[in-house]
């Protein structure tokens, strides 16, 4: 029963949502809207489970003074402070908005900014001409780079920008679309496996 019922619900709702894609009738849309509202409410409620998970993972480690336990104290105190601040006052100028604007946002921007350095180091490794394919990629990358920087235009006003456009519009686009078509069909196959109950590992333990 514990497996059969979820499989039945998955099948019925799966078929319903596939049918909904093809049936524009408003009656179907009303039901879909209702189900989506339920889904949104359930997803929001899962944050409670997330909070419980954070506490259950970190508090015992603090209690046992495990390695790096101080970081976990910072995590719990920060989370608790933000929850309380958010409940008390979410208005402009309040603690919640202040911390979000002046602590979280700059920290997040810092993480994002690190990406540029990671791109440089990854590109350095990826563009080493170890074999024919890597050499081809290296040449294409150099052409594309020359096509977008002033140096390329200085070397030749039209050659590198045009070649860059050709590589991006044709060679790159062809590859992207091939991957997209394959991924879309793969997604359909995965959806079918789940709807038909062939895949069951997501149903959890018996």
């Amino acid at each position: 029963m514990r497996t059969t019922l979820p499989l039945l619900i998955t099948f019925v709702l799966g078929v319903f949502f596939v049918a909904e894609f093809f049936i524009p009738h408003a009656g179907i849309h009303g039901t879909v809207s209702l189900l989506q509202e339920w889904g949104a409410v359930l997803a929001a409620s899962a944050f409670i489970l997330g909070g419980v998970n954070v506490i259950q993972v970190n508090i015992p480690k603090i209690a046992r003074r495990e390695k790096d336990w101080l970081y976990k104290v910072v995590l719990i105190v920060s989370a608790f402070t933000m929850i309380v601040a958010g409940i008390i006052n979410r208005e402009e100028g309040g603690l919640y908005n202040y911390v979000y604007t002046y602590v979280y946002t700059p920290s997040s921007a810092t993480m994002f900014a690190l990406l540029s350095f990671f791109i440089a180091s990854a590109a350095f490794r990826a563009f080493r001409a170890r074999n024919a394919e890597a050499t081809l990629m290296l040449v294409a990358a150099i052409v594309v780079m020359l096509g977008v920087i002033p140096l390329g235009e200085w070397l030749h006003p039209t050659f590198f920008p045009l070649l860059k456009d050709w590589i991006l519009e044709y060679a790159n686009n062809a590859g992207r679309r091939a991957i997209l078509i394959g991924a879309a069909l793969g997604a359909v196959a995965t959806g079918l496996r789940v709807i038909l109950g062939l895949e069951r590992s997501h149903l959890g333990s018996d």
Partner: protein
Amino acid sequence: MGFFRREHASLGPVLALLVSAFSLAACSLAATHVAPPGQPLAENAEALRETMPDARTIIRVPRSADDGAGLDLVQSYFLMRRARGTQEFSPFGYEPAPELIAHDPREVVFVDTSAPATAVEYIAYAIGEREFATLGSPGVVVTASRISQPHAATNGLPMVPEGLDVSSTASVTVLPIAGDDGHHVELRFDPLVGPGPQQRVNRYVVLRASNVNGPYTPFAGSVVDAPEDGARPVISRITVPDSRPYWFRVVAVGNDPRPIATLPMRDASGVVAEATLFNAQKLNVAIVLLLTISLTLIFMELAKKPGANIFIRRIPGIDAIEEAVGRATEMGRPVLYVPGIDEIQNIQTIASLLILGRVSEIVARYDTDILVPCCIPLVANVGEEVVRQGFYDAGRPDSHKPHNVQWISSEQFAFCAGTNGIMLRDKPATNIFLGRFFAESLILAETGYVNRAIQIAGTAEISQLPFFIAACDYTLIGEELFAVSAYMTRDPRLLSTLKAADWIKALVIGVLVVSAVVAFMSPGSELTKTILQFLNPGE
């Protein structure tokens, strides 16, 4: 501290269940208090008006008290006026535009600069859209706020619209839309060109009535901007509340406070939105889907025959998973598995959770640890169940450590920082990134590279694939991500779906090649048009 012990873990789900039930009940109750679309919420709301020394009229309308009563939110307000003693209210030009010009929480302020000579009456409408409603469904809330004492101006322009010299053929064609849900009609008319700059049409206000004699009222999406070039017909998709007949008229409005012209509806019998049961524009998708299902069923039947062998090409990235888990075991370090950062309903996340079950089983067989940091709480909850099932299937349920599946944060870079912290502190020997990733993909993969872990990544997010290819040892590209689960189990029934997808892919390639050849040989032929129409019916 008792609450934090694992044996009390069931309290969390119970709590979440109670909150969910409460929230659903609250939503249902709130929904019952929402007035039906088109019905007045605050019929008796009074409006004030002040006549300024420069003959402008300021109209102050109290904001609807029901703005937030249910799930309906008032998004904008709209003002119309009529000469006293006449029947019809009509839109008129504002300077400034008829949006909110004051952000007072208690009232909305409109300014009528025209100073009409005759007594006029105003009517204000609050226009909203139902929250959580599907796109295009009716959600118009109309609130009438009438002025109790009509204002008589002493000077200024006459109120009665003079209008342009619109020819008798100028009218609005309104037709039902093919493949519609029964809540939209298409409105089409030729744009008007005024004789001078003062009468240049800036926008068109579409008014709707449930009776041929009116009243005609505005609704969400009433205002249609005039096209820049003025040459093409104006086409607008208009929402109607239900499948009853409706009548429309379009009022051209410009800089002049008076309406420039009113276009009547061509068909006096009204228009009824048609709800259809099958969207013919999606016929191509339906054919592909039916073919996929049919082929899957055929291959499943073939797989049942003795000696049947479904060939699937070797995918090195998947073969490397067991090897990588073995390496982690030898090094005495955990395996890190990141199921992407998208919501659970995303197909890539679903595929990743299916793979997580297989990987957990291997990890359990090797008696090592698996760490699963999650960005979405629901993914973390399902992930824990999936990992538990994997350990159970491997015959090692006692080895499962629930706290190894943890929710980090729903914020992208906070999650990224937390996961990087796990990598640097716990030093996993194997990192598996499967699912939907965005900008954090390279930060995660480069941190793993610095950590000298074996890295296997897979995503169908094309913009992130180059990052994974550059920083990881193995990358599953696009469709390979969706094939992992079936590939690992070697279950003929699961492999049947891969085989069916491969055949459909071959069919798609064939259609593309034939279409390209036909389009190249005869670009404007009927055959080319038919093929293009089938492949892209929306065009």
